[in-house]
């Protein structure tokens, strides 16, 4: 049931997450594409179903109820293309993140060159790097073979050798892969993606081609100085889809429905962020943050150049039990305004990993869940930043680059009890600098739009132009050095009705200036103490027009990086104050 891309109008998107399967419908309303609604159910990738199809069918049932449109025919098949009676849809796009992360082994010649590029590539999808093989690897060949047999990788990403560079050493490293694959049952052999010296393709094909599934991609390091990963990312997405299809029932059928275009949710999310980066101010980047159960995804796009990072170890689901390997419970506790012991935090991490779909019913558990979101965002962003292009604009190496806007997704952010809680989580986790707008993807449609962009870019553009993304507000984060309580910014907001409100902002505080959605205002900013507010340099004043959002204009003068008092009681008191100011 391949979908037609000709004269396509309505579009159905299906996203199979590790907890939730969502079906969303988009169609023309008054000549413009709109998001019409969605249906969500629990994903059925796991026991007792072991088939994502059950969840997809239930999500479609929900969507039919919500939208009143018949999408599934009497024969239980999706109606594609749509019929004159209004039933069915014209196109379908699909994304998936369900299932355990893929095990990946990286192969490259030099640790700091090809292997580093391989690492960067591996982080663009739902994968865990379980081993690396390089010239620095002191293991004997047989030990490498045994490691490959023991680790049972799903994918081996082989790089190495610049163009017209090394060849024999790359082939020698690949020998271990060939021998190990030969020793595995045929249906358990890994897929190999070769993205090294292109002159070796024939040799690699000859030595590995008959043993396993082999794909070739352009050299990720054609020279020592140049790195090109974009084309290889596409191949990696293809491999992800093919491994998922092999290991999870229903994926192959979904891929057929999507005309062979099923893609990892993170890849589709990244596409939307990249698209937005072409539309917005080219000096700044666009940041996408998706805090999901299976992974935390960071997508930074800078004038069309995307740096995508997926962190399965920072998901808020099953992997939470292992979070203490990456940070201490005390690091999580510093985000809390209530007292909570390290052992209580550890226990919560385990309990949540046992029941990833469960939700915090008490205020105490909600605070902890939101603290976890802050912590994983911060850790993920810290790692992802190293993959951002060197030329991006930022105030300092340890500070977040300039972003406009920041798009946030993931139920911990989008289903928070109020907008203020969502915003404060993002301010703490991302710590934006300068002036930025923060929007929430409340209906989790960004991946759908990313997947749709390839076949119906008009739809993606028009839906993004509508108010589908929920504007939390404009955030101004001055950067500089001053003591707590020192005035660092004077600003004047001039509303559409001519009213003017002057505000003085002190270091360590948060200020909120109401500006409802649909309204705009003019801001005049005068930094003090040589603070930088994104007006062209330290101490420079300027004005800008801002549009309203749920929380209006928020000035976050708590400092960058955000340093909180060491004393727990004082820290908690300060957090309580910030929460109160924002209206958490």
């Amino acid at each position: 049931m391949a979908t037609s891309t000709v004269d396509a109008e309505s579009l159905l998107s299906i996203d199979v997450g590790s907890i939730t399967t969502r079906a969303a419908l988009f169609d023309l309303v008054d000549g413009r594409y709109r998001y019409l609604g969605s249906g969500s159910v629990l994903t059925t990738a796991y026991a007792p179903f072991h088939d994502i199809g059950e969840g997809i069918r239930s999500a479609l049932d929900r969507l039919q109820l919500v939208t009143g449109r018949v999408l599934v025919g009497g024969d239980e098949r999706l109606i594609i293309p749509s019929k004159d009676d209004g039933s069915g849809v014209d196109t379908l796009v699909a994304t998936i993140s369900a299932g355990p992360p893929l095990n990946m082994i990286l192969l490259g010649l030099l640790e700091e060159v090809s292997l580093e590029s391989a690492r960067r590539l591996a982080s663009t999808t739902y994968a865990r790097v379980v081993d690396s093989i390089s010239l620095n690897d002191r293991r004997k060949p047989e030990d490498r073979i045994d490691a490959i047999l023991r680790l049972r990788p799903d994918i081996i990403l082989a790089t190495g050798g610049t163009e017209k560079g090394a060849s024999q050493s790359v082939l020698k490293l690949l020998d271990s892969i060939g021998l190990a694959s030969y020793l595995m049952p045929e249906d358990e052999r890994p897929a190999v993606l070769f993205a090294g010296n292109q002159a070796l393709q024939d040799d690699v094909q000859k030595s590995l081609g008959k043993l396993l599934r082999l794909q070739f991609a352009p050299n990720v390091r054609p020279t020592l100085e140049v790195e090109q990963t974009e084309a290889t990312q596409v191949h990696l997405s293809d491999l992800y889809r093919s491994v998922r299809s092999r290991k999870l029932s229903g994926v192959e059928e979904l891929d057929i429905w999507a005309g062979g275009g099923l893609m990892p949710t993170a890849t589709a999310f990244g596409r939307v962020i990249r698209f937005l980066s072409k539309v917005y101010d080219p000096i700044k980047g666009v940041l996408g943050v998706d805090v999901g159960a299976s992974a935390t995804t960071i997508a930074g796009a800078f004038n069309g150049e995307l740096a995508l990072s997926v962190f399965p170890q920072f998901g808020l689901g099953k992997s939470l039990a292992e979070l203490v390997e990456y940070c201490s419970p005390e690091a999580i506790a510093r985000w809390l305004h209530i007292e909570m012991s390290a052992s209580s935090i550890r226990e919560y991490l385990h309990q949540k990993s046992f029941y990833p779909a469960s939700v915090p019913a008490t205020a105490e558990e909600l605070h902890l869940e939101q603290a976890l979101a802050r912590q994983v965002m911060q850790m993920a962003l810290r790692k992802a930043t190293s993959f951002f292009p060197a030329k991006v604009m930022r105030y300092g190496p340890s500070l977040s680059p300039w972003f406009e806007p920041i798009v946030a997704s993931g139920s911990v952010l989008t289903r928070a009890p109020n907008n203020a809680q969502s915003l404060l989580m993002l301010l703490d986790g991302v710590q934006p600098t300068g002036v930025t707008t923060i929007v929430l993807d409340q209906n989790h449609i960004a991946p759908a739009l990313g997947a749709a962009a390839a076949i119906n870019s008009t739809l993606a553009v028009q839906v993004l132009e509508t108010s589908t993304l929920h504007n939390l507000g404009t955030v101004i984060s001055p950067v500089g050095n001053a003591r707590f309580g020192t005035p660092v910014l004077r600003l004047r907001i001039t509303y559409e009705d001519g009213r003017e409100v002057p505000v003085e902002v002190k270091q360590g505080s948060i200020e909120v200036l109401p500006l409802p959605a649909g309204q705009s205002a003019k801001l005049n900013l005068t930094p003090l103490q040589r603070y930088d507010v994104g007006m062209g340099g330290a101490g420079r004043s300027g004005g800008l027009r801002v549009v309203g959002g749920a929380l209006g204009v928020v000035i976050d003068a708590r400092g960058r990086p955000l340093k909180m008092p060491e004393d727990p009681a004082r820290r908690r008191e300060l957090i309580r104050k910030w929460r109160s100011t924002l209206g958490c």
């Binding site: 226990e347 046992f354 029941y355 939700v359 915090p360 019913a361 909600l366 289903r415």
Partner: protein, 351 residues
């Protein structure tokens, strides 16, 4: 809405597929009676290999080395067997450094798979081999009481159960672990002292069932030589009343523990089975259940975590929880008589 399910059943038919991760050798036959620790299949899962550079050892170019290789793929060789040579004036040879099997011979190299102990797949519960699954394993069928848990240390064993927990939250202290427990499976409430686990290994016991355990003890529990199953939580929490009642009324009965880790994707969960004869209407437990009024449920998250009750009403639309989160919820009449509202995703149906 589909419900998550936990089985706490006094009597049920049980059918469990026990499979190797790769093709191996199945050592049971259909209809055979097995105990929990009987091996049903084995595999050399992670054999060690040795790559011998024949060309280098014989000091010959690769193309000249190959005709001097005296073995071929598939040959079993013993330590000291000549694999290649003799060549030259000194009659240089390459001998097998250990017992093993030749995997590849050629291109100037020999790859040997060394002999090593096989990985054994145990039945996991006592029963009958209902069917064989190719070269991967078997389906074991039995009847009895079934209690599922949340965490296990990946070990399997069986023995007579000693109920040490006088109440669902009774702490299993080291002074309770005496020599009379040797060879038995211990039922405790909560454990926070690593000494209790250590003594279990020294006696030794054959297994430990707990309602809850301190998080700090998990790494230690992974190392003890007997199976440990946690039924409810990491941290301190009384064992859920349904499990406690069922287990404590089966004191001195034989129980089998399959403490494999909970893996939703693979469909594995730590389980305690108390073998009991089936009656005429004993059936397989239901794994697919929709929420319905009248169902027995277990609450998995605060503030009622670990309590059991009856689902009295599924609330229409979304309910605002005390945390402020809006979600689908149900009214539950807890076993202590309290009526409370719990999100559906924080419930497990007990069937």
């Amino acid at each position: 809405m589909l419900a998550q399910v936990t089985h706490i059943l006094p009597i049920t038919l049980l059918r469990r597929e026990r499979l190797l991760s790769s093709p191996g050798r199945v050592v049971v036959r259909k209809g055979q009676k097995v105990s929990a620790t009987d091996v049903i299949a084995e595999i050399r899962l992670n054999p060690q290999h040795m790559l011998l550079d024949i060309a280098r050892s014989l000091n010959l170019p690769v193309r000249e080395a190959d005709p001097n290789i005296q073995c071929q793929a598939g040959d079993q060789v013993s330590q000291g067997d000549v694999l290649a040579g003799p060549v030259g004036f000194t009659k240089r040879v390459v001998r097998a450094p250990k017992n093993g099997r030749v995997i590849v011979a050629g291109e100037g190299q020999i790859l040997l798979e060394l002999e090593g102990p096989p990985v054994e797949l145990k039945a996991g519960m006592p029963g009958i081999v209902a069917d064989l699954v190719g070269d991967r394993g078997a389906i074991i069928e039995t009847s009895g009481a079934l209690i599922q848990g949340v965490w296990g240390n990946n070990r399997i064993d069986f023995g007579l159960m000693h109920v040490l927990a006088r109440s669902p939250d009774d702490e299993l202290k080291p002074d309770r672990m005496d020599v009379s427990l040797r060879g038995s499976v211990v039922l405790g409430g909560y454990c926070r002292d690593p000494q209790s686990l250590k003594l279990g290994g020294e006696l030794p016991i054959r297994g430990m069932i707990l309602g809850s355990m301190d998080a700090a003890l998990l790494p230690f529990a992974l190392k003890v030589p007997y199976p440990v199953i946690i039924l409810d939580a990491v941290g301190r929490r009384p064992m859920n009343p349904a499990a406690y009642k069922l287990l404590s009324t089966n004191d001195k009965r034989e129980v089998s523990l399959n403490a494999e880790g909970w893996d939703r994707f693979a469909g594995k969960r730590p389980e305690v089975v108390i073998p009991l004869p089936a009656s005429g209407n004993t059936s397989l437990p239901r794994d697919v259940v929709e929420f319905l009024p009248g169902q027995s449920v277990l609450v998995t998250r605060a503030p009622y975590a670990g309590q059991t009750g009856t689902l009295s009403n599924i609330l229409l639309g979304l309910t605002v929880l005390p945390s402020g989160i809006k979600t689908q919820a149900a009214e539950i009449r807890l076993d202590n008589g309290d009526n409370v509202v719990v999100p559906l995703v924080n419930l497990e149906v007990l069937v």
